[in-house]
Every structure is written in C-alpha cells, then in structure tokens.
Amino acid sequence: MRAIITVIGHDAVGILAKVSTRCSEFNANVIEVTQSVLQDMFAMIMLVDISKLNKPFAELSDSLAELGNSMGLSVHTMHEDVFNSMHHV
C-alpha cells in the first residue's frame, strides 16, 4: 500500500526534512520524491510506503496536515488508489 503526499506553498528552509521526519515517526518509508520551485512557490510530491505504519493512516494524514498548517503550507495525504482509479482505465 502506498500513499501520495503533496506539499504546496511558499518555499522555506527545511520543508523536505520536516515532512520526511514526520513520515519516519509513523514508519512510512519514502520511495520517491519530485519537487519543483517556480519563483518562490514550492511544490513537492512524495510517494511513501504505508504498509508498515505504526499508527492508523488517518493519524498520519492529520499529523501531516497539522505540520503543513504550522508552516503555512497545504499538505494532502491520499491513498494511491485514488489517483490510479481516476487517471487509469
């Protein structure tokens, strides 16, 4: 099982570090990261393995959203199936 975390907002020091630290606290393994910075807007998409989480997925999702709020970023954590079913026949 994999999930996709998207982080969008103004660029700042340590975004990647903080998000991946939070993932590690939940035992979510980061598989792939793509990120781009357009002018000062930061957009990161992270693919993480959630099959060995040490807490429920909903808590990871809430925790990351809260982290995003504290940094003024919009963070969404969604199950990979959502994207697969919407964009693949």
Binding site: S74, S85, H87
Partner: protein, 451 residues
C-alpha cells in the same frame, strides 16, 4: 505510472472545485419485518436498521479520511413502508418514528422509504400511509417520503395526483414554524427507480438484495472549471470535455462504493452518475450551462445545453463504473443551486422553462417554492404535468415543490445547509380543478408510431 499533473489535478478538483461523494446510501430490505402488531413490527424495523447500518458512518468516515475525498452524506433507504405496514391495518406513523430513531442511533443524515407505489391504484396500506405523511414528516427529523403516481407501463393515477396535491399542502402547513420544511422531504414520482441513493426520493425496491450499498457522486464545479479552460471550443468539443470529466468523477464513486462494500461486507449496487449541485459557491449546474454560453440559466437555449450536458455526463460515466443506476443525470433543484436561485430571482428562470428542462434531464421540478395560497388542485395538476413528461419519455420525473405558507412571489424560504434557499416562484392562477376532480387513470402511452 502517475505523473505530477494528474496528481495535482485531483488535488485541485477536491480543494477548489468542490469534488465530493454526495452520498453513500445503504439500502435495507424490511420485508422480513412484517408483523400484524405494529409495535412488534417497529421493533423489528429498528433492530434491522441499527444492525445492518451500525458501522456505515464509521466506515464512510474512514474511507473519506484515507482517500482524502469528502463524503457529504451517509444515508439509508428502506423498502417502501406501505408494503410493510399493510399488515398492521392502522396509521403507520409509528414506522416513521422507528425509522427516525434508528437513523439517529446510527448517525446517518437522512433515511428514505416512507413510501407508497400507487401508479395503478391503491392497495392495502397505501392510503393509510399517504394520509399519514404530513404527520410523519412533521414529527421526525430524518425521514424522507416519496409516492410513485405513474409509470410508462401503467399510465398515471390521477386520483393519486389529486390526493398528493392535498398532502403536499398539508406537509407545508404542518411544518410552517420550520419554513414549511415537511414538503421538502416529500417527492412525488413517475417511473420511480428502485436503487436511487439520492433523497428525498430514495427507497429500496422489492427486487433488490437484502442489504446493499449505492453511491451518488457530485461535481458540477469540476465540470464548470474544465469547460472554463476552453472558452472557444465548439459544442462537440464541449461534449467531449464533459465526458472526460464525468469519467474521472465517476471513478471516485466506483472506488468509494467498492471499498465501502468490502469493508461493510455488503454487496455493491450502483453508482448514480448525477451532477448534484449544492448552494455552495462553485457547485452549480446552472453555472455549467452559463459557462457553455448562456448569459443566464433559463434563457432560450437552456434546454439544448442541458440535454447535451445530461447526455455527456452519462456517456463519460458509463465506462467508469461496473454498474450504473439510480437517477443518473444532471439535477436541477432550484433552491440547492446558487446559479438557479439567481436565475429564478431575476425572473429569467420560470416554472414553465424548468418543466421543459425536466424533459431532457434528471429528475423533475425539484425544490421549487410556490406561493402559500396555491390550491391543492394546482399542485395536483403540476404533479400530473410532470408525470406525463416522465410517462411519455420513459424517464423518471418527480415533483418536490414547497408551498410557502403565508408568503407571496418576491419573498423566499431559507433552510440553510444542502437544502439552500428558494425564491417564491409565480404560477398560473387559472384553475385546473375540473380536470383533476375527474379522477381515474390516464392510460399508458403507445410505444409505436412515435412522433
């Protein structure tokens, strides 16, 4: 493999364009709850609903969190109560109270199925149920009611239309302290469907499995936003854009439905491919029609644009899910759609135009507020008109109008939430009473010599 564009598109649809799952509706058969003793029957109804749907809300909320997609309503539909209550030979209001208690116990938003099917005549229990509707809806918070008065195969029961004109008025009068809300929980159908997940008309047909899950999707905002990117596309391209968007929206419904069915251990029924608006900004079907190129919804061209929208939504959605059903089409409830409210207030959208629109879309004259002094015969005639459109065109049509007791054209009724607010719309003042008073059955239409 997923690409960044697709991922961001999905996030944008949910965050900015109001993409959501409108409802997960659990259909529950009550056929095994029949009992001559009404109190025993009601106990069985309460027990079955709470047993089957006990985990519905919890599972739906879990899925919503996991997939990151809002699921707005959790609902239950049950077997038309007139079938269950017939054995009791008394007023079935107690069933409505038991349904209301059960709905509150499991935490769902609405429960539908306080219904009777009388398209060809009244059988045992039907009249008692219909006559109890105003009281049942005024005593309960969650219960929704529907009555089917016609079908393509049977014609239209004009006696039932006449009776329903009176009942709609009574529902409004009994709930006058609550902005006549009773009438907003009552739908009069022609060609009612057995697996509709949308309220107020949901009931669980007798041919359905014991328990099952149906899903209704939403997403007018997503369609409008997709069209806004192509202001110069020709109308064929517009249809294509709507199809592609509808496919994506429906895939969400399929995913949520299948997942819910697995977790609840209940068979998955259908996805209802409907564009269901809400009064929220950016969630309006009228605004899609305006994006297609109408200055205001209701003007000339509205019927054509709506026909295209309705058809393209179905074509896009059909391939996206294993089984479709319910009402499937674009909804045009006036009070629940910000664009429709504005169009009605400006006078551009009239009840005559709405009636024409219902011939090409799902479902009917929906959430329309009419003057409080409208006679029961006029309401009955509106029901008969709308049923005739459904009967002749082999489609579901419905009437959900709310007589605003004590109010006139220019005033409005406001319920807030998903039900929104509606301006009182003018009707004709000439009486159809002699036609309605004739009673009897309008015969079923021919299926050849079409013109």
């Amino acid at each position: 493999m997923l690409n960044a564009y697709d991922i961001l598109e999905t996030i944008r649809m949910i965050q900015n364009e109001c993409l959501d799952i409108r409802t997960i509706t659990m259909g529950i058969s009550l056929l095994d709850c029949v009992d001559e003793n009404i109190d025993k029957a009601c106990d069985k109804v309460y027990e079955k609903i709470t047993r089957c749907a006990g985990k519905l809300v919890e599972v739906a909320e879990g899925i919503s969190k996991e997939f990151g997609i809002p699921i707005i309503n959790k609902r239950i539909s049950v077997t038309p109560v007139a079938i269950i209550s017939a054995a009791c030979k008394c007023s079935p209001t107690k069933f409505a109270l038991a349904m209301d208690r059960a709905a509150k116990a499991v935490g769902v938003d609405l429960i539908g199925g306080y219904s009777a099917l009388v398209q060809k005549g009244f059988s045992a229990g039907d009249l008692e149920l219909i006559q109890s509707i105003p009281e049942a809806l005024s005593l309960t918070d969650k219960v929704c009611s529907s009555v089917n008065v016609g079908s393509t195969k049977t014609g239209i029961n004009l006696d039932a239309c006449k009776l329903m004109g009176k009942i709609v008025k009574e529902c409004a009068e009994k709930t006058v302290d609550n902005a006549c809300f009773g009438a907003a929980k009552l739908v009069v159908f022609c060609n009612a469907v057995d697996d509709n997940p949308f309220m107020a008309g949901a009931f669980h047909g007798v041919g359905e499995p014991d328990v099952m899950i149906n899903v209704g999707v939403s997403g007018p905002g997503v369609v409008r936003a997709a069209l806004a990117k192509y202001p110069d596309a020709n109308i064929t391209e517009v249809a294509d854009i709507i199809k592609k968007t509808s496919f994506k929206i429906t895939r969400m419904g399929q995913l949520v439905g299948v997942t819910a069915s697995k977790r609840l251990g209940v068979p998955f029924g259908i996805v209802d491919l409907s564009l269901a608006p809400t009064p929220a900004v950016g969630d309006s079907v009228a605004h899609i029609l305006e994006e297609i190129g109408l200055e205001r919804c209701g003007t000339h061209g509205t019927t054509a644009a709506l026909a295209l929208l309705n058809d393209a939504v179905k074509k896009g959605g059909v391939m996206a899910c294993s089984s479709i059903g319910g009402l499937s089409g674009a909804f045009i409830p006036v009070s629940e759609d910000a664009g429709m409210i504005d169009a009605a207030k400006s006078g551009c959208l009239t009840i005559e135009k709405l009636e024409a629109m219902t011939a090409v879309c799902s479902v009917g004259l929906d959430m329309i507020v009419v003057p409080g002094d409208t006679t029961a015969e006029t309401i009955a005639a509106i029901i008969a008109d709308e049923a005739a459109i459904g009967m002749v065109n082999t489609k579901t049509t419905a009437v959900r109008i709310i007589p605003a007791v004590g109010k006139k054209v220019g005033e409005e009724l406001d319920w807030g939430g998903l039900f929104g607010c509606g301006p009182v719309m003018p009707l004709k003042s000439e009486s159809p009473a002699r036609f309605i008073d004739r009673g009897g059955q309008i015969p079923a239409p021919m299926h050849s010599l079409k013109n």
